[in-house]
């Protein structure tokens, strides 16, 4: 990617972010009430979106060859167990990442 292509790519991220942050304040003036369907989407979307993002992160994992996705599976498991146990966001993230790094660097 050339520098101008990089600038366009980053600009796309900036513009999209600005749209998502400003749109509600532009659409719904300070007087009007938020439509029920919008309120519903606001509550229903987050869980689905984070599921999608996890799948996106793991999209290139090949479970038929190489390390068979074992490091990824093990690290996600560590994150989940740590988080359900201590419920400390930073600890869960650090633990899972450390475990993943150990596995890909030393074992696989």
């Amino acid at each position: 990617m050339s520098l101008s292509e990089e600038i366009i790519t980053i600009s796309m991220c900036v513009i999209a972010t600005l749209i998502t942050r400003f749109l509600p304040f532009v659409l719904f003036s300070e007087k009007n009430k938020t439509p029920k369907f919008i309120q519903y989407l606001g509550k229903a979307l987050p869980a689905a979106i984070f599921a999608l993002l996890i799948v996106y992160c793991l999209k290139n994992v090949d479970i038929t060859s190489g390390s068979y996705g074992i490091p990824e599976a093990a690290a996600v498991f560590v994150v989940t167990v740590l988080h359900l146990w201590k419920r400390k966001i930073l600890l869960s993230m650090a633990g899972g990442t450390f475990c993943y790094m150990l596995l890909v660097q030393l074992v696989f």
Binding site: I8, A16, R21, P46, I54
Partner: protein, 236 residues
């Protein structure tokens, strides 16, 4: 002299509420900066993106976007999809950010997941202008994030150990947020819809083009099953 309504008292009142965010943003920001650095970018990239985008998940994903083929439309759509949840933070803050004058522009620009949760839950101290308090929280949070990203971007090249696998920190972050979301809900219909849609679309459309079909699929299913989902309750 320090008046109660001044900016310095707003920052003093806001700081304690931002300490958890400070820890998280410095750790994540540094990881993000290192990630960009080891991916071959100068520290100016994470610093500039932390200032202009100010959205962790998208900035992490932008690294892989910058390293793949140039595809501005797909980048724009993906960014919209990833940032779509901000629409709903905005909806929730419509009331609180009312009558905050010009500061409102920055408040809206800087509305991240973390800033949203602080400004949504922390009580504005009595006698303090709410606009100044929210502004202080938002600006402190962005300072943590920009500092972290810049430090990481500079340190990246001096890291004396093998950083292979460090990028997993992004996956770990999404897994943690997903679990938090899961624990908040009584029924998990929406989480299942998310997992099923994206896994199915990944198998059908392949790794490079499954995001948009997944979003369409999620949106359609949430619309179709609105009644049962709302009936089950448990949505925050």
């Amino acid at each position: 002299m320090d008046k109660k309504g001044s900016f310095s008292s707003a920052f003093r009142a806001a700081f304690p509420h931002t300490i958890p965010v400070m820890t998280g943003y410095l750790f994540l920001g540094i990881s993000y900066g290192i990630y960009m650095k080891v991916s071959g970018f100068s520290f100016l990239y994470p610093m500039f993106m932390a200032i202009t985008i100010f959205g962790g998940s998208l900035e992490f994903l932008a690294v892989s976007l910058l390293m793949s083929t140039f595809a501005p439309l797909q980048t724009f759509l993906m960014a919209l999809v990833i940032q779509a949840r901000h629409l709903f933070y905005g909806l929730a803050m419509l009331e609180k950010y009312k009558n905050t004058g010009l500061k409102k522009l920055y408040l809206i620009f800087a509305l991240t997941d973390e800033t949203f949760s602080v400004n949504c839950s922390a009580p504005v101290p009595e006698g303090l202008d709410k606009g100044k308090f929210y502004f202080a929280v938002s600006l402190l949070d962005q300072c943590y994030w920009v500092s972290g990203a810049t430090i990481g971007g500079i340190l990246g090249s001096f890291i004396p150990f093998n950083t292979e696998g460090l990028d997993f920190v992004m996956t770990a972050m999404f897994v943690v947020i997903f679990i938090e979301q899961w624990l908040k809900e009584k029924k998990h219909y929406t989480a299942f819809i998310g997992v099923l849609s994206s896994v199915l679309c990944l198998l059908l459309f392949g790794a490079d083009s499954f995001i948009i079909p997944s979003m369409v699929c999620i949106f359609t299913m949430l619309t179709l099953f609105r009644k049962p989902i709302e009936k089950a309750g448990g949505l925050e």
